[in-house]
């Protein structure tokens, strides 16, 4: 108990040198030890991914070796080439990009309009409608797959890209996120635009939307990631996997073939993680901010 206090002290009154000599020593060493433990935890946490990365370069015969080794006898770049040849993986990536981009665009458009409607416009029943919007966040997608599939059957969308794109673009999360943003925009901006003679649509498109760019970016990233990673729905609705499959479906395909090609699966996994990982590294500040603002990340 006593030691833990020393961690808070410097922050509180900063009574440097006030403690006993022993305590001063521990105040310096303890954080260092804590930091090391933290680094160890992070390393342990990352070990599956490091192992995956290392395995993706191993020769197939050396994958299950005891004791496990981080590096194989050779560095096999060919694993990546073979993984790309084994399955039409580039096509899966292209499909994933197309579906994710289109879905994200659709999400952005509808969410921007509705977020604006729920924040800066007055209309009858607004709060009630917004409540319904928020309530839908509590409906799990998984519960909807059977009726959604039947609906897709009826309109002939089974095995099409639009079935992957359209149904999930209307998440209330988007409306919520943009509403939060628009609520914080000063009213004077609207007034100024109005004085300049701009109508509602022009004010929205030319004044408000450009302001909302950072929030739109956050929404775009979340939307993209959730489309990119989506698994259950594509599994159900896409039959022609070789032509219309996305990355998660393609990864799944590596199993159950003549022999699980672990080295290829690992190479393919690394490839599949690359785009979202890149997004995370480039946009981590925005992502974190988005989660902080909304309290959740498009889950």
């Amino acid at each position: 108990m006593l030691e833990t206090t020393s961690r808070i002290r410097p922050l509180a009154a900063r009574p440097r040198g006030s403690g006993a000599p022993g305590r001063r020593w521990s105040a310096r060493i303890r954080p260092a030890i804590g930091y090391m433990i933290l680094c160890l935890i992070a390393l342990l946490f990352l070990s599956p991914l490091i192992y995956m990365f290392a395995t993706s370069f191993k020769p197939p015969a050396e994958i299950f070796s005891v004791p496990p080794k981080l590096f194989g006898s050779e560095f096999r770049w060919q694993n990546y080439q073979e993984a790309l040849n084994y399955m039409p993986f580039l096509r899966f990536m292209g499909n994933g990009l197309l579906v994710s981009a289109a879905g994200t665009a659709l999400t952005l458009v509808v969410s921007a309009f509705s977020g604006y409607a729920f924040s800066r416009q007055r209309w009858r029943g607004r709060n009630l409608v917004f409540m319904v919007f928020l309530a839908t966040l509590m409906i799990p997608q998984e519960v909807l797959i059977v009726p959604m599939f039947v609906m897709m059957q009826k309109v002939g969308w089974v095995n099409t890209f639009q079935a992957l794109i359209v149904p999930w673009a209307f998440t209330a999360f988007g409306a919520f996120l943009l509403r939060q943003f628009f609520l914080g925009v000063p009213q004077e901006l609207d007034d100024a635009a109005r004085v300049d003679g701009a109508g509602t649509l022009r004010t929205f498109l030319l004044v408000m939307l450009p302001l909302a760019r950072p929030t739109m970016a956050v929404l775009a990233v979340f939307s993209f990631i959730s489309y990119w990673n989506s698994f259950l729905w594509p599994l159900v609705v896409i039959n022609d996997v070789n032509n219309l499959g996305t990355i998660p479906l393609g990864l799944q395909m590596f199993f159950g073939q003549q022999g699980n090609q672990w080295h290829l699966v690992m190479a393919a996994s690394v490839i599949s993680m690359a785009p979202t990982l890149l997004l995370l590294i480039l946009l981590q500040k925005h992502l974190v901010k988005g989660i902080v603002t909304s309290g959740f990340g498009g889950r």
Partner: protein, 412 residues
Amino acid sequence: MRKEALVAGALALGLIGLTGCGGSSSGSTADGKTAMTWAMWVGGTEDQKNWEKVADDVSNTLGDVKITLQGSTFQDYFTKMSTQLSSNTAPCLVAVQSLRTAQLKDGMLPLDDLVKKNNVDLSAFDASMIKGLSADNNLYALPYDVGPVMMFYNKDMFDAAGVPVPKAGWTADEFVAAAKKLSANGKHAIAPNTADLFVESQVLAYNGGRVLKEDGTMDASDPTFAKGLQWVSDLTNKEKVSPQLPGGDPAFSSNEFLAGNTAMNIDGPWSLLDVKGKAKFKVGVTTLPAGPGGGKTFSAGSGWGISKQCATPDKAFAALKEMTGDKVLGNLAAAGRALAARTAQQTKWIDNAGIPGVAETLKSAEATAVPMPSNTNSDQLGQLFNQYLVKSINGQQSAADVMKDIAAQLPR
């Protein structure tokens, strides 16, 4: 003002509509040919090229059709195909495995009238396959390959252990004796195989127990089958000649065999040349070990049929006739992709196999092979095997109890 609002709404809605793209169904191509899709299971890019070549060759021969291949993995194929036959995007040409015929038949066209109309001689095909691809006395597909389930072995491992290579017709006791000698230094004789066709064949050869009866009915609580399954499980638990299963993984057995960790694997002739190409050891084949009351093996194969949704069944049948004709099947046999269902073309496959003893084994296996009947619930049974056999093989439950659990979940 209001007009502007409407325009905005329409704009957004239009965008929703715009994103709708892709998804081509059957129809005509630009040059007036009839376009049709052919659904087939595909195991990797190599396999895909192979089948695409068939599609192109047949399209060229016929001249007035354009066949496009649509592939998915074997393990997903039947799930996907049922889904697809249920929606209006089903392909014209549909691949079906003999034991899954009954499951897909509601979405498929009976071919009997077309066979008569086009004078197709069914006697040129392996008789058991014509039977296997029929359900309710209707033929649903023309067969392209056939094969009794057999035992593949790693000749190098047998030689290294000083065990004589098994001869066609060997017994279960001989198998266990050899297996014990082969299991040492972390290697095992054989890995448990939970794929329905293979485990059912293994039991049938051991004691004649079967879940699928001759008349196509299913009885998962059959006591003889449970006894046979117990024997299979004991290979892991008592005899220690098999490793434990790492969870439900139908590819585990082939995996271990190809990696050189096990000396034997149960498989069919359709994958023999593929295995031979991938393996870094000499591959041999023999019959499944026969126990008292057993000695038989299941034969299975696959064919191609026409979906009910096909708008041009006549043209589809013309394509089917060509795809299962002497030329295509001869090529497939020579390429080692399929032991042709046309008996006249089988020698090409045997000659090409280049595996000593393959002809004798095949002869012996074929003499004892019985067609595996198809049942509407075959796919479900296969899923349950994969999920539940882990328990008996890893020694957590007796085979009889496992089969009881499986029986309880099959639709009555």
